[in-house]
C-alpha cells in the first residue's frame, strides 16, 4: 500500500468525507438480481459500487457426519478469482478467500437460518447437502458483507430438485424452498485512525487499522463476529463498532425483503 495514499485517506476521513464522496457511515448503492444461474438450485448476482459477486447454491444428497446423523450439511466456499482483482493469484486458496468463506459460513451456520433437521432424508444415511459458492466477479472491497448478503438471497431463491427413487433429477426443479427462518445479515466496520467507516472500498481496506465483522439475526441477536486487521481495539472501540454494524445491518436487511 502506498503510504501517501494511506495518509491521504485518513486525512480525508478526519474531515468526515471519503475518497469516493460518501460520508463515513454511508453504504454504496446495491443492485440485486436473484436466480441468475439456470443450472444452480439458487443463485444471486449482486453489485455494490464496483464490487460484483455471484453466488450459487447447489443441493446434493450425501451421508451426514457421524456425530450429527440427522442434520443436513452446509458448506460455504469462496474463490477469489484472479480476473476480479490483479492482487489475487490462482492456485490454492489464499488466506483471504478462506477468511471470506469462513466468516460467511459462520454467519449462516450460527444464526441457524437453515433448519438442518429438515434436510434429513434417512437418519444416519442420507441428508441434503447445501453448498454455497461465492465468486467475486469484480472486487472493490467489502467482500464479506456483500458475499454474505448474496449468499442469503441465493439460499432464499433456492428450490429442491426433484427426487425419484433416491436419484436426484437436477433438470426438474420442485417449488419447495429450503427450510429457512431468521435471516442473518453481516456488516463490517473498519477503523482507520480514530474514524469508523462501513462498506470499505479496496483502498480503504488496505489502509485500515482494524475491522470487526458482525452478523446479526432478524431478532437483533449477534450470532457471529470476526476481528481483522493488525491493530488492537479497545473495549470502547468494539462497543462502538458493534453498535454501528448492528445499525447498518438493519439497512442491509431491507435488500433481503423479509
Amino acid at each position: 500500500m502506498n503510504e501517501e495514499l494511506k495518509e491521504h485517506i485518513s486525512e480525508c476521513l478526519k474531515s468526515g468525507i471519503r475518497l469516493d464522496g460518501r460520508g463515513l457511515e454511508d453504504l454504496r448503492n446495491i443492485e440485486i438480481e436473484a436466480n441468475v444461474i439456470e443450472t444452480a438450485e439458487g443463485s444471486c448476482r449482486i453489485k455494490c459500487g464496483m464490487t460484483e459477486v455471484i453466488v450459487g447454491v447447489k443441493l446434493s444428497v450425501g451421508t451426514p457426519f457421524g456425530d450429527t446423523p440427522d442434520d443436513g450439511v452446509l458448506m460455504v466456499g469462496a474463490e477469489l478469482l484472479p480476473l476480479s482483482n490483479p492482487d489475487f493469484e490462482s492456485g490454492p486458496p489464499s488466506i483471504e478467500s478462506i477468511e471470506v468463506a469462513r466468516v460467511i459460513d459462520r454467519g449462516i451456520r450460527e444464526s441457524k437460518v437453515i433448519d438442518t433437521k429438515a434436510l434429513c432424508i434417512t437418519k444416519g444415511e442420507k441428508v441434503w447437502m447445501v453448498m454455497v459458492d461465492i465468486c467475486p466477479i469484480n472486487t472493490d472491497g467489502n467482500l464479506i458483507d456483500i458475499g454474505s448478503l448474496a449468499a442469503i438471497i441465493a439460499l432464499k431463491s433456492a428450490t429442491f430438485p426433484e427426487m425419484k427413487d433416491n436419484i436426484v433429477d437436477y433438470k426438474k426443479k420442485t417449488k419447495k424452498p429450503l427450510p429457512l427462518k431468521n435471516f442473518p445479515v453481516t456488516a463490517t466496520v473498519v477503523k482507520i485512525g480514530s474514524n469508523f467507516i462501513v462498506d470499505p472500498t479496496e483502498a480503504e481496506e488496505k489502509a485500515m487499522d482494524s475491522r470487526l465483522t458482525v452478523s446479526v439475526t432478524a431478532d437483533g441477536k449477534i450470532c457471529a463476529m470476526q476481528k481483522g486487521g493488525n491493530e488492537p481495539c479497545t473495549i470502547g472501540d468494539i462497543e462502538r463498532m458493534i453498535d454501528l454494524a448492528t445499525a447498518k445491518s438493519e439497512e442491509l436487511r431491507r435488500h433481503i425483503g423479509g
Binding site: M1, N2, E3, E4, L5, E7, H8, E11, C12, S15, I17, L19, D20, G21
Partner: protein, 241 residues
C-alpha cells in the same frame, strides 16, 4: 465506389470502409485489393484521403514524448521499473532518474520507493516496445499526496480539452492540482471536498465525451455544484500536461 460508411460511425473489424483507390489506409485500417477494411473496433475518422479508426477502449500504447504517470513496480540494478498502465514494461534508468549524483551502492528506494508514483516522460520506445523514461524535465517529479484515478486512455484528449481548456477550467473551478498522464492516470490533489468534485467531473467528462457541447455541459455542472460563475476561458498558450 468511394466511402461506404459515414464518418465518425462505429466500425467493426472486417467492415469494408471504402472501395477504389481514392482513400489511403492508416491506423486501424488496411487495404485488401481495391477495398479498405477496418481491423479494429472504433470510430472512423476521415482525414482528407486518409482513413483511420480511433479505438473506443484499450490499454495505453507508449509513444515518444508522452507525459505519463507511473508507479514503481520494481527496483533493479540499473534503475526503476515503472508500471504505466500499458502492456509493455518501462524503465527509468539511474541516469534519467535524478538530477543528483547517485553514488555507487546507494539505496535506490531513497529516490523512488516501491509503490511511489511519479510524472515521467517517455524518451524512447524501441521496436521491441521497451520503453525508456526520464524524470528530468519541466514538471516531471515524484507525486506526493493526493489520489490517482484511472480513466480510459482514449478519453485523455477530452479531459485535457483544446489547448488544455478543460483541465484548466477544472483546476480553476475546484482549486485542485491536476496532472493528466497520457496513459490514462490522473493525479488529483486538493481539499477533500473539491478533490471529490474534480474526480466526479473527470468521470463525467469520460462518460459524456462523445456527446456534443461537452465543455458547456461540464461548465454548467461545475457552476451548479459550486454555485459560482466560471468565466469563459481564454485560449491557453501553453500545452497542458
Amino acid at each position: 465506389m468511394g466511402l461506404l460508411v459515414k464518418e465518425r460511425s462505429v466500425v467493426v473489424p472486417g467492415e469494408v470502409l471504402a472501395e477504389g483507390l481514392d482513400f489511403l489506409p492508416s491506423n486501424g485500417t488496411y487495404r485488401h485489393e481495391e477495398k479498405i477494411l477496418a481491423n479494429q473496433l472504433g470510430l472512423l475518422v476521415v482525414d482528407g484521403k486518409v482513413l483511420k479508426t480511433i479505438p473506443l477502449s484499450g490499454r495505453y500504447l507508449p509513444k515518444k514524448n508522452d507525459i505519463v504517470i507511473g508507479r514503481v513496480m520494481d527496483i533493479t540494478m540499473m534503475g526503476w521499473r515503472f508500471e504505466i498502465n500499458s502492456p509493455y514494461t518501462s524503465l527509468l534508468s539511474m541516469k534519467e532518474g535524478s538530477f543528483d549524483f547517485i553514488p555507487k551502492n546507494a539505496n535506490l528506494s531513497k529516490y523512488y520507493a516501491l509503490d511511489d508514483h511519479a510524472v515521467l516522460e517517455i524518451i524512447k520506445v524501441t521496436s521491441q516496445n521497451l520503453v525508456d523514461l526520464t524524470a528530468k524535465g519541466p514538471g516531471l517529479r515524484k507525486l506526493k499526496g493526493g489520489q490517482i484515478i484511472k480513466v480510459n486512455t482514449h478519453k485523455v484528449p477530452r479531459i485535457i480539452g483544446k489547448k488544455g481548456s478543460m483541465v484548466s477550467m477544472l483546476k480553476k473551478a475546484t482549486g485542485c492540482k491536476i496532472i493528466v498522464g497520457q496513459n490514462g492516470l490522473v493525479w488529483v490533489q486538493g481539499e477533500p471536498k473539491s478533490e471529490i468534485l474534480a474526480v466526479d467531473t473527470i468521470h463525467k467528462i469520460e462518460s459524456e465525451s462523445h456527446l456534443p457541447g461537452l465543455t458547456e455541459r461540464i461548465k454548467s455542472h461545475l457552476e451548479q455544484t459550486l454555485g459560482i460563475k466560471i468565466e469563459a476561458e481564454p485560449d491557453q498558450p501553453e500545452e497542458e500536461r
